[in-house]
Each structure stands twice: as C-alpha cells, then as structure tokens.
C-alpha cells in the first residue's frame, strides 16, 4: 500500500514539475523573444516594442539606411516623415574633432519603384556621408520619429548593438 502511495505521489510531483517547467518556458518566451533584423542590420526598438528602426551601415560606401518596421520587426511600416535625424558621436575608429562633439546625419525618405514607396509615404530612409566611411561603431540618438500617431524622441543606442 505504501509503495502504491509513494508511486502516485511521485507521479503527481513529476507532472507538476513538468508543468511548472513548461509554464516557465512560455513565460520566458513571452518576455525574451528575439527579433531578427530582416536586412541583417541593427534593431532599435521604439517604445514598448511599438515599432523598430533597423539601421544598415555600409562602411565602405559611407552609407546608412534605415527601415521602419513593426513591433515584431517583420513588416515594413510606412511613415509620412520626410527625414530622420540621427546624432552620432564616439565613433570607432575615432573620426577626429567632429566625432567628439558629435554630428547629425539626416536620413532622407527614399522613394522606391520596386516597393511602390514615395517620399512622404515610405518605410525606407538613407544617407550617405564621408564621415561614415570606415566607421564600425558609434553612439547615436534618434531625434524624433512619428509612427502611426505616436512620437518617439531622443532614442539613444549604441551601434551596432542596438537597444533591445
């Protein structure tokens, strides 16, 4: 009789432990699921995962492209903004005097016939600057972005780590 009771107790405890493990997994997954940058760039989260800005740097060409994405960083979100200002400093490798005080990059809205996007209704922004040539890392602050009626100001992050 004792053996049967012990077996039942063990079974109940095992099932409870398994269930607790699974709940924990789901819980963890809900809070720590990872987003993947669709263009292979750096993700900057805006708000409580309301949206993302993906930044793709081409150090060779000195170009920086930005893509506005949804909260899951999967689908493009078009915005009406004509440009996005990003203040950059502490670049690596260091870029001289302008680098210490920082400088502003203005990413212009990109019209693309392949996507049907136009300036003023686009998810793609880009800038080309000689100051970005050879740059691998930098500190940055996005001045302002308006997405779907919400405004995000002074979003700081480190490139290429992002702020997620």
């Amino acid at each position: 009789m004792k053996i049967i009771l012990f077996a039942i107790l063990t079974l109940v405890l095992s099932v409870s432990a398994l269930h607790a493990d699974q709940s924990q997994d789901v819980h963890d997954e809900e809070h720590h699921h990872e987003h993947h940058a669709p263009h292979g760039g750096t993700l900057v989260v805006l708000g409580e995962e309301f949206a993302h800005l993906e930044l793709v740097l081409d150090p060779g060409a000195g170009s920086l492209a930005g893509y506005i994405l949804d909260g899951e960083a999967e689908n493009a979100v078009r915005i009406g903004q004509g440009d996005i200002e990003i203040k950059v400093k502490n670049t690596l490798p260091p870029g001289g005097e302008s680098d210490k005080s920082g400088y502003a990059l203005i990413l212009e809205a990109v019209a693309n016939v392949l996507t049907g996007e136009t300036a003023g209704d686009t998810s793609e922004f880009a800038v080309q600057s000689d100051k970005l040539k050879g740059v691998q890392k930098f500190d940055a602050v996005i001045s302002v972005i308006n997405i779907k009626g919400q405004t995000f100001r002074n979003i700081g992050f480190r490139f290429p780590e992002g702020n997620e």
């Binding site: 263009h39 999967e74 392949l114």
Partner: protein, 423 residues
C-alpha cells in the same frame, strides 16, 4: 534440407507452373500490371517533383505584378498560366540596376501561334542567360537570333516541330494565349532561327523582340497609367512601356532574401517569386492528396494481385491433393510440400514483377511524352529510383505470404485418404 531436396522442390514448382500455364500467365500479368503501376506512380511523382522544383530554368526569381507567386512562376517559367498583369518598364529598369541582380530579362506575353505562346524579350535572353549551368541557347545551323528592331522570330525546337516553322518561314501571330483564327494579327514575322532542343519549357515558345511585341496591332501600353498605342516610326517612350514579368538571375541566395524583403514585405507594388523551386514545391504540397490517392490505388492493386495468386494456387489444391499424397508416399516431408507451394507463389510474384518492368517502361515513356507535350519539361524516365528495387522485394515477399494458406492446405494433406483408388 539437402541439395537433392532443394532441386526436387524447384522441379515441383517448375512442373506446377507449366501444368497450370493459363492461370499462371493471367496471374503473372496481373502482378506485372500491379508492379508496373506501383513503380510508375512513385517514379512519376519523384520525377515530376524534381523536374518542376529543381529542373533547369536558367534564372533564380521572377518579378511580376502583385499577386500569386505560383501564377507568376507558372506563367513565366513554365509558360502554362495566364499573366497576373503587367508591371511598368521603370520597375524593370529599377530591378536591373539593383546590386543584388546579375541579369534581368524582360518577358512580355499575350499572343500565340497555333497555341504556342509568343513571348517578347530582348537579346540577353539568348546571349547572357544559361538555361542550364554552362548551357546557353543555340540556334540550329543556318539560323541566327533575332534583330531586336525587326519583325523576326526565334522558335523553340518543340514549337518548330509541331508548327512546321523553320528558318525563313513567315507567320502572323494570333492574339491571346488560346488559338483562335479570328484573332489574327496583321503583322508578319520572319523566323530567323530555330533553337536547339533544351528539354526545358522554352522549347515550346516562339520568341520575338519585345519592341516588336509592343508594336503589334491592337497592343496598347499602359505603363504610364494612361493608354498609349505605338505609332510606326516613332520611338516608344519608356514611361509607356510595360512587361508581364522580369526573369532574374541573382548574385547569391542572400540577394534573394533581401529582394524578397524589399519587394514582397516592404513593397506593395509587385511580387517576387523566389526561390522558384520553393514556389513549385508549394504547388506539389497543395496537390499532394492526388498523389496519396494514386498511391493508395496502387497499393490496392498490389493487394488484389497478391489475392489473385492466393486464389489461383488455392483453386488447384483439390486437384493436386493426390499429387501431394504421392510425393509424401515417396518420401517427401510435409515441409517440402509446404515450401514448394510457398516458392511457387513467390516465383509467380517474381516473374510478374520482372514483367512489371516492361509495364513500368511503357507507362513512364507515355507519361514522359505527355508531360513533354504539355509543359516542355523532360522527365528522366530511366533514372534509378529505389522503388525499382524495393517493389520487387516487397512483391515477392507478398507473393510468398499469399502462398502460405494454400501451403498449409497442402501441408495438411492426408496421405492415406488421397492415395485411395479414385474409382
């Protein structure tokens, strides 16, 4: 069991098969059909899947109007479907300039000649595109590729064969993709070359310069939004031009991911069908149930064939009781009789399966001709498939299994009763 016993069993089997020639032949034929059918169903499934999802098409992706990727691939790669719509020329130029694209070839469709579709394209299709790794299109001796500014045509080998068009022939296109004599265009085209066979869907197509495609009577261009009808001798502005699709050769697989992200996810203006094999695999996924039904039917035919072995041998058991009794009286053991019957059953299955290879060859050859006729895709009919090895083994085992019931009956034959005088 010694050698003498084994040779004795083989003798019994051989004599029995010869003695029941008619039922043996009928059973062998039914097994041949079953084996041929099973092998064909599996082989056709594998062959068509491989040919349509991994066969040579020459390009990696197709850009076309917003809509179904499958329709785009079927229309542009296999020349089977209607076009989902047109995209403006500037989109063709934009994708051509894209750093991820190595080659972009325009594709305009909307006419036919006796059911074979006429496609407007440019010279890159012949000079730069490899329809199979290392293979470019070639014209048969005496021919050449078209001049992009003349009413000339290059005809695929299959289309040439069926229509009788050859270098020097003249023809008038018909509007639409379905042949209707009432829709004949006034313009006359001269065939300047016939392509060497490529065993690809391109063999079924008649290629003309895209510029001349635009200038065909009744063709209107809407690339710029408004309707534009080209006039003779007047250059067509790019803003009015449009194409049905663009065939793309990409730099690498990563390029495909980036273009897919840009055009399909970020964009709403066009569709990129990429990778082509995956798009076609989805089609096979959707119609997979048809294959399952065919497979089920084939299995049922095998079961019926195995049943026919059982029935044909079992029916001879009554008349062979005396024969078994004599064998037993002469010293043959019960196991010898049992083995002889099982072996006879397996032998019928074995002969049936070998004959099944002929049925298989006939079915596959016919299927290959039909698929080639309908799509231009060539099936490798005699490629090795594991089903060609597995089927005979399974059929012989099944045959042996079908022989167990009659064998048990023979095993239990009572010697004394069956040796009694018959009259």
């Amino acid at each position: 069991m010694n050698t003498k016993n084994v040779s004795g069993i083989f003798l019994i089997v051989r004599k029995s098969l010869a003695q029941h020639k008619l039922s043996t032949v009928v059973t062998v034929l039914s097994l041949a059909l079953a084996a041929g059918l099973v092998m064909s169903v599996f082989s056709i499934r594998n062959e068509t899947y491989d040919a349509f999802t991994g066969g040579p098409v020459g390009f990696d992706a197709v850009l076309g109007a917003r809509g179904s990727q499958l329709q785009l691939v079927l229309n542009t790669v296999f020349h089977l479907e209607t076009s989902p719509g047109n995209i403006p020329w500037e989109m063709y130029q934009a994708v051509k300039r894209n750093p991820n694209v190595v080659l972009a070839v325009p594709y305009a469709v909307g006419d036919n000649y006796r059911g074979f579709r006429i496609v407007g394209t440019d010279g890159q299709f012949f000079t730069d595109l490899e329809y199979r790794k290392g293979d470019k299109f070639k014209v048969l001796p005496g021919g050449r590729f078209f001049d992009p500014l003349k009413r000339e045509a290059v005809v695929g080998s299959y289309a040439a064969d069926k229509t009788g068009l050859k270098a020097g022939s003249k023809f008038n296109p018909f509007h639409g993709l379905v042949f209707d004599e009432r829709t004949r265009h006034a313009e006359e085209y001269t065939v300047v070359g016939v392509l060497e066979p490529t065993n690809t869907p391109s063999d079924r197509v008649i290629w003309i310069p895209i510029e001349e495609f635009y200038r065909m009577s009744g063709h209107v261009l809407r690339g710029g939004g408004e309707t534009y009808e080209p006039s003779a001798g007047e250059e067509i502005p790019d803003k009015h031009k449009e194409v049905s699709a663009v065939m793309l050769k990409l730099k690498n697989p990563q390029s495909g991911f980036l273009l897919d992200q840009t055009i399909n996810r970020q964009g709403k203006a066009a569709t990129l069908a990429w990778p082509i094999g995956r798009v076609m695999a989805e089609l096979f996924g959707k119609i997979g149930w048809v294959n399952n039904i065919l497979t089920l039917v084939a299995y049922l035919v095998v079961v019926v064939a195995a049943g026919s072995i059982l029935a044909s041998i079992y029916n001879t058991m009554n008349e062979r009781r005396r024969e078994f009794a004599i064998l037993r009286a002469l010293g043959a053991g019960r196991s010898t009789v049992f083995t002889a019957i099982v072996l006879e059953s397996a032998a019928i299955a074995g002969i049936g399966t070998i004959t099944g290879y002929l049925v298989y060859a006939a079915i596959m050859s016919t299927a290959a001709v039909i698929v080639r006729d309908q799509t231009g895709v060539a099936l490798d009919v005699f490629r090795f498939q594991w089903v060609l090895v597995i089927t005979p083994i399974v059929m012989i085992l099944l045959g042996a299994l079908a022989g167990v019931i009659p064998a048990v009956k023979a095993y239990s034959t009572d010697v004394a009763t069956n040796l009694a005088p018959m009259s």
